[in-house]
Symmetry: C2
């Protein structure tokens, strides 16, 4: 067992230690609870956490013996996701105290694998922009990112090794990057969304936030409900990395630009084939395409709240996503969907010459201010195009806070993305 406190271990390390009898699920749960008790007043990562319920689950896991590949691993669940034994409020006072009658698919599969549901992590309102109470663990004046704010902060602060988020634009990659985590947004459609409140189904996915690529690989297989297979090692001479500054490069700060440029050179020197990729100009319209799709769907998905609980909706949402959604006609929405489909095929073509793209995860470090969760622009192309991506905690910014590098994979080729990410991580050890 690694020589660190239990709450600092990765999911793979915990699963191995519990399976080997080196510690119990109760030991792990208690270590995480102790750390949370110390840190939660400052961080505010949890919307719901009941230590008794956590320890009860842990004792049951210890009594039952090995159940699956996550046996004894504590997992935080974004409070946009239904849990049968914990309230689920979707980040909104309208739903305060709501207790779903069944688990979301992703929660049921986590339990099936022996995972311990630690509690519900803070989400922005309906996984949109209006922030919850969470602060950046390393600087309470800064945002932890959103919308998976609590999941990013909880994993970054070692409260849990794993957490579930969701992503409609940048809601997993951004908080993962701000908190120095590995964040993963899968190929759209791979992981079932039943029991997750829909923001905009045409682009929504689950997201995994972890502290190692290996943990992402493991948890993804659990959520697919397939036998876990570790990522394969890759020969860098077989790895083609397209360095893609993206059409939004001028919105990245100087530190991000400097680190990304250096990273492309470093990976080339380490043996990979690194080439510059400039996306066709068609991708410059992505913000408009994504906004029409997500806003049109979002405003309809909140029809019940709008008609029954208008006063419970934040002004942020009313003046933002809802206003955009109401202003978008069905014809404009449909045109955007068609444009997105064409961009997907166009991006498939870009991958003819490379296996993964290297691009910024965010504009910079987590910004100061708790009313915003940061720009989403470095994720909107990949989200809209349904391709998988990972943010890796490779750099440190000018204020000593984490900066991520984003690797983007080909649609339906998440495992090649994982293999590339393992190799990239190894170049920074």
């Amino acid at each position: 067992m690694p020589d660190r406190d239990l709450h600092q271990l990765t999911a793979n390390e915990i699963a191995r230690a519990v399976a080997a009898g080196q510690c119990s699920a109760v030991d792990v749960a208690q270590a995480c609870l102790d750390h949370i008790a110390e840190r939660e007043p400052q961080v505010g990562a949890w919307e719901f956490l009941d230590p008794d319920l956590v320890l009860k689950q842990a004792r049951e896991l210890d009594a039952a013996g090995p159940r699956g590949p996550l046996h004894g691993v504590p997992v935080g669940i974004k409070d946009i996701i239904d849990t049968a034994d914990m309230p689920t409020a979707y980040g909104s006072p309208i739903h305060a105290g709501h207790r779903p009658h069944m688990d979301a698919v992703c929660v049921a599969l986590t339990r099936r694998a022996g995972g311990l549901i630690m509690g519900k992590t803070v989400t922005t309102e309906f996984a949109n922009r209006h922030p919850g109470k969470t602060r950046h663990p390393r600087d309470p004046q800064r945002t932890p990112g959103g919308s998976s704010s609590g999941s990013g902060a909880a994993v970054g602060d070692c409260m849990v090794p794993l957490a579930l988020g969701t992503q409609t634009t940048a809601s997993t990659i951004r908080p993962a990057a701000f908190n120095g985590c590995v964040g993963y947004r899968p190929t759209w459609g791979d992981l079932r969304m039943a029991g997750v409140m829909e923001a905009a189904g045409s682009v929504d996915t689950l997201g995994i936030i972890a502290r190692s690529v290996e943990d992402v690989v493991l948890y993804r297989d659990v959520l697919i409900d397939t036998t876990p297979e570790p990522a394969v090692e890759i020969d860098p001479r077989q790895l083609r990395i397209g360095y893609c500054r993206s059409p939004f490069w001028d919105q990245a700060d100087a530190a991000t630009q400097k680190h990304l440029d250096a990273c492309a050179k470093h990976l080339a020197r380490a043996g990979a084939n690194v080439l510059d990729v400039a996306l066709p100009r068609d991708f410059e319209q992505i913000e408009s395409v994504h906004r029409r799709i997500s806003s049109f769907e979002f405003v309809r998905n909140r029809a019940w709240e709008i008609d029954n609980h208008w006063d419970g909706i934040s002004d942020t949402l009313k003046m933002g996503r809802l206003k955009h959604g109401l202003a978008c006609t069905f014809a404009e929405y449909r045109a955007a969907r068609t444009e997105a489909e064409q961009l997907r095929l166009l991006l498939d073509d870009e991958f003819a010459d490379c296996d993964v793209l290297l691009t910024p995860s965010a504009a910079g470090e987590a910004p100061v201010g708790l009313n915003e969760t940061g720009t989403a622009v470095f994720c909107s192309i990949w989200t809209t195009c349904h391709v998988p991506s990972l943010t890796l905690p490779l750099f440190t910014g000018p204020n000593g806070l984490p900066l991520g590098a984003q690797l983007v994979g080909r649609r339906n080729d998440d495992r090649r993305l994982f293999a590339a990410a393992l190799w990239v991580m190894a170049q920074y050890k």
Copy 2:
């Protein structure tokens, strides 16, 4: 106001009559309730129906005055769809008595338009194959079709003018055809599914069952949340109809084959451009593609029930969809999704020469036997390819029961499909 009993009117006729003060929402609701009271013991279309709640809604609508384009129109809601004021059991004893805390988007939008939620119509278990109690209104020895069994029977028997269904394979088109209704399956993705229990999200859509094409057009606009626009009239010389017997023609019975052949000739004589369309052989694999996608997703979507209520699941489901889903690997599933995407693009090409396809809705009349809901094969291509389709009640089979003709539209061109359908219906008046 048309000279028929109120419960026999279409949604458009009711909306106009209520708006003109020719009758009240209470009058309409009472007429439907009276007819249901007479017929329900034989048909069994309703999983939940509370006359007091219906009349309370009707009185509120009358008191509030015109609210929207469905003001006073009774609508049946398939019991796979969440309603905040009525139980929702998803066709399963596991969920008996469950009361959702909010309406599905489609229910909220129906209420916003002034629609009156009549009750919950019977669905097969989880919208799969295991049948509920509903019998064919014209012959209690026959299936009403599934999975939207109650919605098809209720509209066909004039208990309500409109009902919501869903379709994962043939679950709207088939029961609509068996019950002599107009059934509509929209372009995939157009109508929000939040609050509808997912069967297989990659192919699931809502479905509308009505007694006129005009009612489908109206209700679709309500569910999109856009201002209603009637379908346009079409010049048949501008209408290109591809007559597509489909790769499954030999599974259609003699009456269906005869009526469809005659229909193609009749429409050509009436002035449309009718051409024979033979789909490329690629489409012969559609059953395998559809089964892999729907079964893989379905078995995961039921993870909570499988792990917590295994004994409450029917043998039909265990030996069918669940077994197939567990036998399908993730690699096979993903390959099927890619094949489906290619077939979608291939089908787009087929529409270069035609505006709509004419094809059977089902193999024949509703079959005798209450353990099955009929073959789905005449819908699986269109469902998998995400194109819109309508079944029209044009023919009568050898036992005096309805036979439908299916019109299939181009993806994202539902309104051209409606225009074509109106013209086709007019040729059979």
